[in-house]
Symmetry: C2
């Protein structure tokens, strides 16, 4: 099998979408992360779910874990309200990593090694002009490999 | 809300379980990662799904991405067969990170900030003697925060 054989079509977002929308798309689709595309449908970023969450965590709490411990529980339940209409582009780190992509012809061990190394449970599959063809999630990879059929329970 | 209020009971593994079993438990439970406990039910490691996958990727391919590209597609579909009966303990990195845990009284912003910083979509909730009380997944956190109700679609 090649990456193209197991790639699936998943919703994407752009940097102009709100962070709230991005989180909602991820939750509703039960996705482990999101692919952020540019206007030509090329992956610009591939964010693991924890880094989509990070977009919604106010910067001061990201940097200083002890600070979050001091705040009021009721505020902590609603910290994401502070987001307002901020967009994905507003909240991205300054030097985002290169998008985690594989060519359509990549084999499944390449995909697995890439996920393991980049700690990204979602990988964008791109064609020769870098356009998005589909996505491979960790779950999709593992079920395609039928690893769950291996050995005894 | 506090961590104890949204913690759920999820299957765990020990270092004596096979990697194949660990992967299978993760896939069947649709879990974003696994908590590895010791014999006293204390979290020893909290592995994001990509790092559970990593246990199954032969070391040489982890280190050298180009190597995976050179191999036969049929072998790539079955690389995990090389695992045999190797256990989680056999395959762990030499210097594993401290387990990603929060106390039962942690607020939800603390949990969110920890997930974002450690890039771990699963967090172990522990009581005062470090025993496992439950787990919080990224999905559980986000649905508890009802972030998906925010703003327009």
């Amino acid at each position: 099998m090649q990456a193209r054989d197991i790639a699936v079509s998943l919703p994407t977002v752009t940097t102009r979408d709100s962070v709230a929308k991005a989180v909602r798309i991820m939750v509703i689709g039960r996705l482990p992360g999101l692919i952020i595309v540019d206007d030509l449908s090329r992956p610009r970023l591939v964010l693991p779910g924890t880094q989509v969450l990070r977009l919604a965590v106010p910067g001061s709490y990201q940097e200083d874990p002890a600070l979050a411990r001091t705040i009021d529980e009721a505020y902590a339940d609603q910290f994401w309200l502070d987001l307002g209409n901020r967009t994905v582009g507003d909240c991205l780190p300054r030097d985002p990593a290169r998008p985690v992509t594989v060519p359509t012809g990549a084999n499944l061990l390449e995909v697995a090694a890439l996920m393991a190394r980049t700690r990204s449970p979602i990988v964008a599959v791109v064609d020769r002009d870098a356009s998005l063809v589909g996505a491979i999630t960790l779950e999709r990879l593992l079920t395609s490999l039928a690893v769950f059929g291996l050995g005894e329970p």
